[in-house]
């Protein structure tokens, strides 16, 4: 009791920054009482999102997604491989999420971040199970050659909501992907035709021109924080570190639920909280669809 009294006395004398560092939870709760957050956002609003396709010229498909300060760069490189015997006419997608040391003060070169393998597994489960990509489209010659797509996502700046930004950049990179032209070389193997030789191709190409991958349904996600009876959409890193209960909802473009992920946490989620989160995600999916379509049409204009 006395400690709270002294802290409330101190708080009237202290500067805002010092109070934010020393009593972070009280700082945020005082904002939540007014239904606002320290960066002046209402509780259910996500940060400004932007998307740029084709950021990396050396990859076959790439995208840079920015949600507030969280920045993710996704790039896809395609290689030819022989498919497995169980599924001879299906290709393969390998998804990997990296958090290099530049993104956050917690990550050190020798010691990878704790969040990296968690987000990596979450992403690969979501993308592969959502049915966004039909693996049969990645097949070249049935039983002999198929595409292996390596999707690498690098976090360039970690400021909360890593999964959302990573999924957005992955989806955008797949929208931007152009499958390169291949041909059979003399050994009977399928090789990628490099662009310089494309003009003087004597051998017949297996696929005549670069084509885009057909995405059946695109998934988007929103991460929310549950704290007491507040629901905060799209948390920053500071909010995530103080209020630890996160919930991620992934919906596809027809607003069907693809994945719901709530990894423990001190706050228990009741049905109404889950429904509220899904409603917030639905709004967010509409915004993200618009942003993605604008980014794709900007690319095509170029």
């Amino acid at each position: 009791m006395s400690s709270t009294n002294t802290s409330s006395d101190l708080s009237s004398e202290m500067e805002v920054d010092a109070f934010r560092r020393l009593f972070p939870l009280r700082f945020h709760e005082r904002h939540l009482l007014e239904s606002i957050r320290p960066d002046a956002r209402p509780l259910g609003k996500a940060r400004d999102t932007s998307l740029a396709l084709g950021a990396v010229a050396s990859a076959h498909g790439s995208a840079l997604a920015k949600i507030g300060c969280t920045t993710m760069l996704a790039a896809i490189k395609m290689e030819v491989m022989t498919p497995t015997t169980e599924s001879p006419d299906e290709g393969c997608i390998v998804i990997d999420f990296h958090m290099p040391p530049i993104c956050s003060p917690i990550v050190r070169p020798g010691r990878p971040a704790e969040a990296a393998p968690v987000v990596s597994k979450q992403l690969s489960d979501t993308i592969l199970s959502s049915g966004m990509i039909d693996l049969k489209e990645l097949s070249l010659v049935s039983g002999k050659a198929a595409w292996m797509a390596y999707l690498d996502i690098y976090c360039l700046d970690a400021d909360g909501a890593l999964f959302d930004a990573a999924l957005l950049s992955a989806v955008a990179a797949f929208s931007h992907l152009e499958i390169p032209v291949v041909s059979l070389n003399d050994d009977g193997r399928v090789v990628v035709v490099s662009e310089e030789d494309a003009g003087k191709l004597e051998k017949e190409a297996v696929n005549k021109e670069k084509r885009k991958l057909k995405l059946s349904t695109i998934s988007f996600s929103l991460t929310c924080i549950l704290h007491k009876n507040y629901i905060l959409a799209d948390p920053t890193a500071e909010e995530e570190s103080i209020m630890e209960t996160l919930m991620t909802v992934v919906l596809d473009s027809s607003f069907q639920l693809v994945s719901l992920y709530k990894p423990g946490g001190p706050v228990l989620a009741c049905t109404s909280a889950i429904q509220d989160c899904v409603a917030l995600t639905r709004q967010r999916v509409k915004e993200l669809q618009k942003i993605l379509n604008e980014a794709i049409s900007d690319m095509e204009v170029d």
């Binding site: 990396v56 050396s58 040391p101 530049i102 993104c103 070169p109 690498d152 700046d157």
Partner: protein
Amino acid sequence: MGCRWAGLHCRGCTEAAVCVCTEAAQRLDGGCAGRGCTEVWLVAAQAGAAQRLRRRLGWRLSGCAGGCPRLRRRLKVVAVGFRDVLFHKSNTTCTDTPTSAPQVSKLQPPGKVPSSAPVLRTGAVNSASGSAYAEFGNTKVIVSVFGPRESKKAMMYSDVGRLNCNVSYTTFATPVRGQGSDSKEFSSILHKALEGAIILDSFPKTTVDVFALVLESGGSDLPVVISCASLALADAGIMMYDLVASVSVARQFWIPEVSSVVMVFLGVRGDESITCALSSCLGKNLVIDPISEEESYQDGSLMITCTPSRNEITQLTITGEWSTPRFMRQWSYALMLARSSGRS
């Protein structure tokens, strides 16, 4: 416009190319059998600029009759191009533009032509104390600086600050996936390049971490990383004696249909004074700030890191045999001064 030398025609020149013979060139290259018939190519953006420069220096325009027999034997067409470095007098920015020569189009696949102006920006990463993003052609690098922060508990007490550097590549940085294998030595090279410029006494007992990530590697990665790292350190407020800038030069055995000697004209800060440096090697060509294909054809290279205002070199790395090292240094040095004055 063309150079008639041993029957070669330079089909691929830019708008203004001048072939001259000079006495000076003959002295330096030491041993051309003809009467100083070493060609010098002046490459400029517009025909007007070349004319002005030519007049200013009073070069004589003459063809090399007969050509140099030594070189004629060694002529071979290799698909290698080079990039011009243009310095504009009016503003102190430096731009790298690929020449309009067809050689260059062989190297740059369609759709991958690099943007012409280099980009250097601070504040790229919000979570770091200081950060910078650099883009030179196809080479894109992000550097973050954290610190000064507490040293690891295992480290001993030290009166001066510590610098910890790490350079890593993304898996998609190189055309072949996962090939950034030079990154271990790059970390120590970066450390050596920066430690001369940082005032380590200003942060005793603590460590400053410099982390670099190469997003896309288009050649000359290390000089770009070093320059970007010094900018990130400045953004973080770490005390330094000066910014460091770095440039690399690759030496190639020849250049097709182009002469043996390359001359670069630099304009420094809008004065009329022009610093020029000549390379001496006969039959060899020097390429400044090479792209990755040019680097693959190199048989020697030089990388120099210096602090422009103090005229000090923090690091010099030379590979291959160089006959007149003084020369190379002078040239790269002058180049780098101009570049860094353009950058910072």
